[in-house]
């Protein structure tokens, strides 16, 4: 058995990277800043954000499609990443503004006064004037970049350690992850938690130090950044799932107990993947929110994470490109339909307004996909390639059909 290079063994990776590159070049050439202007800046932003969502979906696929943990709390990491970078964006920008306005004072401000003024500018809206402890590093981009991956990573590590250690799995684990994101959202909603309550962080689209750069240009830069990070993380994820490590985590997904009897520390593997995915998701969030401009605790609502799962499921889980396709297609369709741009459907006697009916269609199509196309959109590629293997998971155990699941049989 001659070993081929990694890329050649995974041709899909090459295809994905090529498509991504071509897409980025095309958007750049059609953007207002660098090309014909056929794509308005707002659309460039939407596309950039979509790439970030695709990245989050790739991470979700690692956790769900490969490791088998249906995490309904991924968006907590996404938003945390956004909050961490948002702290610096907001602080640094407010500092510039406040420093400019204070420059007119007869006496130059002390660093302490400057910080006080920034704090009251940022937190006046929640009736506070002091800089919370959690903002101690907000002045430093480096520190916040570290926190951006460290905080969600640590949260995932602690949460995962607690949950996996006590062998919580299946729907229990899903509910628990949902509880985690809900708790975090509720905490952030409080005014005194130090993140401006339900106002969230805003004005994130203005990048300190780049004030002179027009948004049209900035949006393309962010698109490049998003595409690059997506490509890198995709490579990382593909590498992760290709070798023996990938073998082991898929084995954990299919039969955790058996893997344990092979001598693998299942909890360790779960922790590594869960934490890594949380970090990737956080990076995605940190790239997303400067393009969105605002972040608030509603972004952490459990429903957001479920939508992420929906995208991955529709795209096809257990396949990295499936997750990407799902996220891109469904989120773009959603924003098109709910944005009011889709033409109404005139039926005899009733006019279907997509703003009202899109959710219904999405919900039902989701049910249909789960029922009839468990492989999702990515299944089409299999079908085209003629590689339709019989589905062997959820295997029956002979006459006691439906009685005992595989794991029980080992009991």
């Amino acid at each position: 058995m001659a070993r081929k290079p990694f890329i050649l063994r995974n041709p899909s990776v090459l295809v994905v990277l090529a498509v991504l590159a071509v897409f980025t070049v095309i958007v750049t050439l059609m953007s207002q800043a660098y090309g014909t202007g056929a794509i308005p800046t707002s659309m460039v932003k939407v596309l950039g954000k979509t790439l970030c969502l695709a990245l989050a979906a790739v991470a979700m696929d690692l956790v769900w499609g490969y490791l088998g943990i249906l995490s309904l709390g991924q968006m907590a990491f996404f938003a945390l990443g956004g909050y961490m970078i948002g702290q610096w964006l907001m602080y640094a920008r407010t500092e510039t503004i406040v420093a400019a306005s204070m420059a007119n004072n007869p006496i130059p401000p002390t660093p302490n006064e400057l910080q006080q003024a920034v704090a009251s500018q940022i937190f006046g809206v929640v009736g506070a004037a002091d800089l919370p402890l959690l903002w101690s590093f907000a002045h430093s981009l480096t520190a916040q970049l570290v926190l951006m991956v460290a905080v969600p990573g640590l949260l995932a590590l602690i949460f995962g350690w607690l949950a996996f250690r006590s062998r919580v799995n299946g729907v229990y684990l899903s509910i628990l992850t949902q509880a985690m994101t809900l708790a975090l959202a509720l905490w952030l909603f409080q005014n005194d938690s130090g993140f401006r309550g339900n106002n969230g962080l805003s004005g994130l689209q203005n990048i300190p130090g780049l004030e002179h750069v027009a948004q049209a240009r900035l949006s393309v830069w962010f698109l490049w950044a998003s595409a690059t990070v997506l490509a890198l993380c995709y490579l990382l994820a593909a590498w992760l799932v290709s070798g023996k490590f990938g073998s082991v985590i898929r084995a954990i997904r299919d039969d955790e107990t058996r893997v344990r009897f092979l001598g693998y520390p299942v909890e360790g593997f779960k922790l590594v993947v869960f934490t890594l995915a949380a970090m990737i998701t956080a990076i995605a969030g940190a790239l997303y929110y400067p393009q969105a401009g605002i972040i608030n605790p509603a972004e952490l609502a459990p429903i957001a994470s479920i939508y992420l799962a929906v995208w991955v499921a529709i795209g096809g889980r257990g396949r990295l490109y499936g997750a990407m396709i799902g996220a891109i297609v469904v989120s773009l369709l959603s924003s098109w339909f709910t944005g009011g741009r889709a033409p109404d459907l005139h039926l005899p006697g009733y006019t279907v307004s997509w703003v009202d009916w899109w959710q219904v269609v999405l919900g039902l199509s989701f049910v249909l996909v789960t029922l009839f196309a468990p492989k999702g959109i990515a299944g089409i590629f299999d079908w085209l390639g003629g590689a339709v293997s019989p589905r062997r998971q959820g295997k029956d155990l002979g006459p006691g059909e439906g009685s005992l699941t595989e794991q029980e049989a080992q009991a």
């Binding site: 249906l70 729907v171 479920i306 219904v360 989701f366 029922l371 009685s403």
Partner: protein, 647 residues
Amino acid sequence: MTRPHALLRHLPALIFVLALLATALPATANTALEQIVTNNLEQIQRPSRRTVQPLIAQIAATGPEGLAFLSAWANRNLGLTDDGQLLITSGKTTTDAITGQVVTGAEPKMLRPNSGVRGLIESALVAGEIASPDMARRAAALDSMARSSSAEHLVALRDAPPETDPALAARRARLEKLLTIRFDDDSAARIAAIQDMSGDVGLDFRAALNPLLATHRIVATSAPADQNIARELTPGRDDFSRDTAYDILKSEGVAQARLTPTAQRDTLAAHLQDGAVAGVPVAELSTTVGRDRAYEALEAAGTVSPAATDAEADDAIDAHRYFDVYNEPDSDVTDAARAAQRAAETRLMAMKGVDLGLDALSLASIYFLAAIGLAITFGVMRVINMAHGEFIMMGAYTAYVVQTMIPDRTGSLIIALPAAFIVTFLAGVLLERLVIRHLAKRPLETLLATFGVSIALQQLAKNIFGTQARPLTAPKWLEGAITINDVISISTIRVAIFALALLFLGLFLFIMKKTRLGLEVRAVTQNPGMAASMGINPDRIAMMTFGLGSGIAGIAGVAIGLFAQVTSELGQNYIVQSFMTVVVGGVGNIWGTLAGAGLIGILSKVIESFNPSNTLAAQTFMILFIVIFIQFRPRGIIPQKGRAAEV
């Protein structure tokens, strides 16, 4: 609330009665009244609070006409014509104040007694009322005295003839004691009254104690002998910071202000000359050190007066003693009041505990109702139904629709309960047959598929009923609250929900233990394969249990809709708590669900009671608790035993 105009505001009923009385009276002259009025016209026109008391008493003593006169006077309905005739205007009719005859065409100048005088008049009126032969009027007088008491009331109460009605007598005695505590001049009487009522938790008693225990803060160099000291404060301890102490010294004029950074900056800015302050260039003033240097230079030059240094401030703080002093001078009274307050607080605490328990119980019943359906389906089919919340919503909307068709509240509720059950039962059966059955043994995918159903249903509800909240009105007999005392009360609707939860617990137990269906359900739960080979159709059982679980969700929806607004997000708000209940309680066992609901209900209320203003924090801690709880009991409080437990 002892100010007389407030009393006036509270007395419309009384005044109205008096006004009616006045207009209904035959137009016969009251000579005594006429005489008094004629003799004191000047006083009536420009009454003085200090001297008018005897006059009011005289007028009140002349009988009903006098009382009517006083009431009009206090109410600013009394006018004086240029020829000295006193007239009472009531609406559009004007009558002579003394004879009661209707007068037309007169243009009286209305008298406007000040609030002090009006208070005196009110007291006199109430004192008159307390002796009234009519029981309702005596009760009304007691009410008004309780609402706004004054020292005059105490006198009036003591002078009044003995009360014959036992209930009223008790109320009067209580009121008299309360008034004694507040207004009596005799300390012994006050202490006796306080001790008599000690341990009472009534709001009125506590309100009567509060002014006695009010304190103010004083500063002195030695302990003041003539003051009733509540406690001495040590700066830097007992929530009494040194800064606070220094602020007091400043406000007393004993100490100078310390130099605040802002004051320093402003002073420096005022002495800015040619880009430098006292020789220190402006650029160097961006640090505290630079500023201090510049300020000291200014001080040295004598341009600014020296500010208090920290050492001086410390000396000043230590040189003084700080006391909280009772406004009430008599220490025996305050001691008694304090003891009574402590006793009241202890009892209050216990009662708050009871009240909290009731609250928790009602919350637990709501969670129980919301979660029971979920627990059934999860226990029997290992399926988490994300659309469960939407079934709750569906039940609530069903009740709303029924209500729009049947105006009678009780009737519509009686129809709505089974209707909601049937609608959601059918919806559940439909969902089971169309979706869940095909996803058997794939619990995570079922979870997601039902989530798809959930978002579709939610949007559908929005499209049909709109986004605004729909009211679901409870029948009259469910409104209001059962009040045991000032502390313990529970709304009737919550009692009803508790009863409903009990009913469903009983019903569920009956179905599971006494019916064929229950037997089959239990068999399928324990071992579906074996059950199937015994001739039980697991598909039918799954369908029935799913329908049953959904039906109960519908009923929970009606119950929740009665106290919450019916919106398309109604179910979503309860679904997470329901999940928590099931997870914490343990699946496949009704007692587990009950325990889970109880635990979550009690815990949320207890956490909430620590910080009632911040329910968000309470919920956050609640969820954190659950996450940690799962660490120790991964299978819930009452775990399922045997092979079926191995999910």
